[in-house]
């Protein structure tokens, strides 16, 4: 594990409840600003500075160089850059996510792997501030409707690994998106925050009839008793064209 960017005497992370009550950080261009984001961004930067991770998260290493290497033609350099991606921290989340839409599928795959490395490094024990910063970037990206569906799907699953209560509203909003709702449901099933359960309950009351069966499954998986909507997991639906041998 690469720990070189962490301070030798880390400060304690903020309490989970404090982190979860903080508004979402929007790192996107100013026209996409969400109320409260700048306050949250400032807070994350302050905490990162206190932890000694500010240079890793936002400072010394410029994500542009990472993306340039990953999108370049030198395969060995790209592989090394992928390994080093966690050093760029949250600042690299947006550029990497956007590069995941690169028409060159090999470039897109590299960038996805690099971004996963950042998410997994940020999710390590004792790195809540880094996790919060990465989470904030992912939260913004999944809400950008102009992005490709598969990209947002991948980002949702990344968010499922580190998301806190703060991720719940934007993920829950995607339960209304027919193309993303199943992934959003899965993510809410995984997020441990009680707010995820509340969001699933709320969605169950208003979702289209055909989607309620899946939501009921999520609720049952989280220990809820659900009336009606029996599981369809054993309902055979697929027909083969192969006939028995006479």
């Amino acid at each position: 594990m690469n720990d070189t960017l962490r301070t030798s005497s880390p400060q304690p992370s903020p309490p989970e409840e404090e982190r979860e009550s903080t508004p979402a950080l929007d790192d996107s261009p100013s026209e996409r600003t969400v109320a409260g984001c700048s306050r949250f961004a400032s807070r994350v930067m302050l905490l990162a500075a206190a932890e000694g991770t500010v240079s890793a998260a936002e400072g010394a290493k410029q994500p542009e160089e990472l993306v340039a290497t990953l999108t370049g033609t030198d395969e060995a350099a790209a592989a090394a850059a992928c390994d080093a991606a966690p050093e760029y921290g949250a600042a690299a989340v947006r550029p990497l996510a956007l590069a995941m839409a690169n028409p060159d599928f090999e470039v897109a795959r590299r960038c996805k792997r690099a971004l996963y490395r950042i998410v997994r490094q940020a999710g390590r024990p004792g790195a809540k501030t880094e996790a919060a910063a990465v989470e904030a970037k992912l939260v913004t990206l999944i809400s950008e409707g102009e992005r490709a569906v598969q990209l947002r799907r991948d980002l949702l699953w990344m968010l499922s690994e580190i998301g806190s209560a703060r991720a719940v509203p934007p993920v829950a909003a995607l339960l209304a998106d027919k193309e993303l709702r199943e992934d959003a449901r899965c993510v809410l099933t995984r997020l441990p925050s009680p707010k995820a359960l509340v969001a699933l309950r709320k969605a169950f009351k208003t979702a289209p009839e055909d989607f309620r069966f899946a939501l009921a499954d999520s609720l049952r998986a989280r220990g809820e008793k659900v009336e009606g909507y029996p599981s369809r997991k054993l309902v055979a639906t697929k027909q083969t064209t192969v006939t028995p041998k006479k």
Binding site: C82, R113, S160, C186, V187, P192, S218, T240, V242, K245
Partner: protein
Amino acid sequence: MNSPVKRISRRDFLKSSAVTIGILNLVPSGVLARPGQPGANGRFVIAHIGVGGMGMTHLTNMLRFQKEEKVRIAALCDADDNRLEAAVENAGAGPTPYRDYRYIIERKDIDAVVIATPDHWHAVQTVHACQSGKHVYVEKPASVTVREGQAMVAAARTNKVAVQVGAQARTAKGGWYTCRAIRNGIVGKVTRVSCWHYANPVDEKPVADSPPPEGLDWDLWLGPLPWRPHNVRYQPANFRWFLESGGGQIRDRGAHQFSTILWSMNADNQVSFTVEATGKAPTRGLWDCPVDMNVVYQFKNPDWTLEWGQPGNKVGQTEFGNVFWGTNGKLVLEWEGGYRPANPEAINFKLPPGGQEVYRTDEYEDFNMNHKADWFRSIREGHLRPAVDIEIGHRTATLCNLGNLSYILGRKLVWDGQKQEVVGDEQANRLLSRPQRYPYVL
């Protein structure tokens, strides 16, 4: 078949050796006396779910059992009509073909299923089969997540069915000779077991996503996995090279090798350990399993180390194998104890006075047949604990899955096997399960 030891039935073996080897922890009271399940006194009615690759080997085995009038093959199932058609052709008249395994779950006349689908389907299909009262033979590795494995064990126990995991070395001669020799001190106290294995392949010629081929139901093939476009690099057998579906060599051959090692080390109940993995990711292609990989598992009380080396330190002549390093020397096991014979030192090993005998079944020379015969016997005898019972399969898969988890997270994990959780690592614990795409859920 010539056997150097008196043949011991698994039921007798379980009874006689339960105290000395601590197997009571695996076998709740009352189970040993259970009568056989439906079909135990006649021909088992069998269905095959997944009939490509290893699934075709299982079908070939079962056709032989059918010829011996021990089973009747009633159904064949695959999400790929092309594979299904080949299996129907192979099996001849009789079995009904299905694309959707849930038709098989519905059928009350079917006693048992053989599951050889991609790994990401194993748990869901096993649990559903158990819940419908069917016995299960499921390919290794048992599961792709720890929580899936737990659900499989629970389903087998709750529904009182036998679930055999297809790691055949525990019913093969190579594994038996090795286990017997190691347990009885051929190399003294074993402190380290190292594995060597060749690399995971690299997708050297990556291709773009494309529509699925005619006859393949991509939605059904993906099943519990998150939706994504079809790519020819996923299937038929290439699911193995994706961490989320196949898990690479450590979950393929590792599931065999680790099973034999745990058996030999008498460590099925040594469920807690630390695991630390490093690996070299592929530089191109869709496959994401590490090309090279090194994983170290540290067990305590008794203390020993298990090392997965890819390539590791190749001691034997074959492509993969492992070495038991003891206080009095070393013993090599090439492959995993199934396809290859044991080391001559193990074969010639004489059990010392008061030594510990090891369960052995010799119904068939072919170890694939033998493993299935052991499964049938566990049903007929009513104890429902085949040689690689699902609990053993789950523990083996846990080693494989946590090795991969440590690799993807890039950090050491401390595994509490009693609580079935990673100590102090919330992200790792989230990844012990994966929410499944509806309706392909446990």
